[in-house]
């Protein structure tokens, strides 16, 4: 096995064996099950209250409360928590080893620092993918199994859009790809801050602080904010929602994906540069 292959295998092994990795998986599973249970109990009542306002305009037929709607709601709910869960693990990948002292063993092996930081970055992406797969399994498959399939009534900035059940699978697929890119940016940022700092908590808190600040900037329609908004990754993290509009603004979505990919690359390159320059004094 090449030295990079061995380092990558080690990083994946550590990610799987760390108790902290299971916090995110547990939280996602718990939130999904909790929402599904709540909607199973009271969903019809809540939805009839919501749909009443549309019934004067058009007639609703079929089962509105279905797996697709639950998945849409779960995704909108978890978009706030997912970055925290990703940062909880990826923000600790380097700084945790510095704080614990194990970095000294890693860096006195034949693998270069570049190989080590890339292996850690891949492990972070691997963990992000696992989280998304767990989310996809619970939010989409389990919801469809419990509530059945059906057309999605998506309420978004454009108003109410009805997506037919036979036209929705590709949208879910792309939505999860965009979610992966978005969380990949978070993982990359956490990895970068983790390479800069020497303790585990600060990178995690810093990632959340950056996301909160960027999100607040994105919320206000002020001319000075409008200048920076297109360059903030948080602006593009919610572009998955555009997949549930009709017609789908594919150009905008592709642009958002491009911005997210650029962020991922920039964060990775910055991590490599900083990690290679860093003196390991701890």
């Amino acid at each position: 096995m090449s030295s990079f292959g061995a380092i990558l295998k080690n990083e994946l092994y550590k990610t799987i064996r760390r108790p902290r990795s299971y916090i995110g998986i547990g939280v996602i599973s718990f939130i999904c099950v909790m929402l599904q249970s709540a909607f199973y109990q009271d969903g019809k009542e809540i939805l009839s209250f919501v749909t009443q306002q549309f019934e004067s305009t058009f007639q609703i037929q079929g089962e509105v409360l279905n797996g697709n709607l639950i998945c849409f709601i779960v995704l909108q709910t978890l978009i706030v928590q997912m970055p925290l869960l990703v940062a909880l693990v990826t923000g600790d990948l380097v700084s945790g080893e510095i704080a614990q002292g194990t970095i000294r063993f890693l860096l006195t092996r034949p693998a270069s620092r570049t190989q080590i930081i890339i292996a850690k970055w891949i492990a972070g992406l691997f963990y992000t993918l696992i989280l998304l797969l767990v989310l996809g399994f619970f939010a989409l498959f389990v919801s469809k199994w419990i509530f059945g399939d059906g057309d999605l009534m998506a309420l978004n900035s454009e108003g109410l859009t009805v997506i037919r059940a036979d036209d929705i699978q590709w949208r879910w697929g792309l939505a999860f790809v965009i979610a992966f890119l978005s969380l990949g940016v978070v993982a990359g940022l956490a990895n970068l801050l983790s390479a800069i700092m020497d303790n585990s908590i600060t990178p995690i808190v810093s990632v959340m602080a950056i996301i909160i600040v960027f999100t607040i900037i994105g919320m206000f329609d002020l001319p000075s904010f409008d200048l920076v908004k297109p360059f903030l990754f948080t602006t593009h993290m919610i572009s998955w929602k555009s997949l549930f509009e009709d017609p789908v603004p594919m150009q905008d979505i592709l642009f958002s994906c491009g911005v997210l990919v650029v962020h991922i690359i920039v964060f990775l390159l910055a991590s490599i540069w900083i990690f290679n320059k860093k003196d390991m004094k701890a």
């Binding site: 000294r104 890693l106 006195t108 092996r109 003196d279």
Partner: protein, 305 residues
């Protein structure tokens, strides 16, 4: 045996802001030696050892391992050296064996279970390898640290205060392991410790630094031969009062100190036959005469403490 130094540090300088931690340090470590690396706290020992292992980059100067630059041959050099820097820290959620397997993979070595068993036996952890490291005492972690340093059969091992946290038996075991590996496998050791008796016991060479600067380097025996020995005579019984033979000018001039059944004097090695002659002359019997170089005294002298 090759006469190229295994380690050659040339004019190393490291600054932390305005503070110069290492100031123009140069030294060499020859193959097959056990070299003690000494200095008071804050003398720049750890920074130097970290620069030797590429954890910290020097501001200027050069480090050669086996005659090759650490900067340009890092990967091949790391394959040939093992180390414990500061204190051995492991992945506490993994077992000792898993930690070793992980670090073995990172070193690129293929090990069988028998190899790991042999290594664990050597450091005295056989039977505890499946325990999670979080349940290990500091002494056990030191032993595991030594195991990871030896994992890939290195030619040189750097040990940064390996005695810390070890019980007396652990210190003796570590000493035996180092001497055995040096004797049988020709492994060179660079050994930093505050336990000077231990250093004196096993180190063939000494490097002493102070306030970031080089103080002295050379073979232990040569450096300490300039020093008076501490000679200790064990008497059969504790005298009620200071015996009259202590009034003999030989004893008084050497500041004899009577401590229970032990009489301690400072003298040169050449004076020992004269001491025996004097003891015989006054009819004083004894069980044992011991002598010891005083590294501690020497260390304090050269570091002006």
């Amino acid at each position: 045996m090759s006469k190229i130094p295994v380690i050659s540090a040339k004019n190393l300088v490291k600054n932390y802001g305005n503070f110069r931690a290492v100031d123009d340090i140069s030294f060499e470590v020859m193959p097959g030696s056990i070299c003690g690396f000494l200095g008071p706290n804050g003398s720049g020992k750890s920074t130097t050892l970290r620069m030797m292992t590429d954890l910290i980059r020097p501001d200027s100067g050069e480090i050669l391992w086996f005659g090759e630059s650490l900067k340009s041959h890092r990967s091949s050099i790391m394959n040939r050296i093992g180390c414990i820097i500061e204190k051995p820290d492991f992945y506490t959620y993994l077992s000792a064996l898993e930690n070793l397997q992980l670090l073995g993979r990172a070193s690129g070595c293929r090990k069988t279970k028998a190899d790991y068993d042999e290594l664990l036996q050597l450091v005295g952890l056989k039977g505890r390898e499946k325990d999670a490291v979080k349940a290990y005492s500091h002494g056990m972690k030191q032993r595991l640290g030594l195991a990871q340093a030896l994992l890939h059969q290195p030619e040189v091992v750097i040990l940064d205060e390996p005695n810390t946290g070890l019980d007396p038996q652990g210190i003796i075991d570590l000493r035996e392991v180092i001497l055995q590996l040096n004797r049988e496998k020709g492994i060179t050791f660079l050994f930093s410790s505050h336990i000077l008796n231990e250093v004196q016991e096993i180190c063939t060479d000494l490097i002493v630094i102070h306030k970031g600067k080089m103080v002295v380097q050379g073979p232990t025996t040569e450096l300490l031969s300039q020093q008076k020995l501490r000679v200790s005579i064990e008497l059969p019984e504790k005298p009620d009062t200071a015996p009259s033979w202590l009034g003999n000018p030989f004893f008084t001039e050497r500041h004899a100190v009577l401590d229970g059944r032990y009489l301690d004097l400072q003298m040169s090695k050449e004076e020992i036959p004269l001491l025996l002659e004097n003891l015989q002359k006054v009819g004083q019997s004894f069980y044992r005469i011991d002598y010891r170089n005083q590294l501690e005294k020497y260390f304090l002298e050269i570091t002006n403490q």
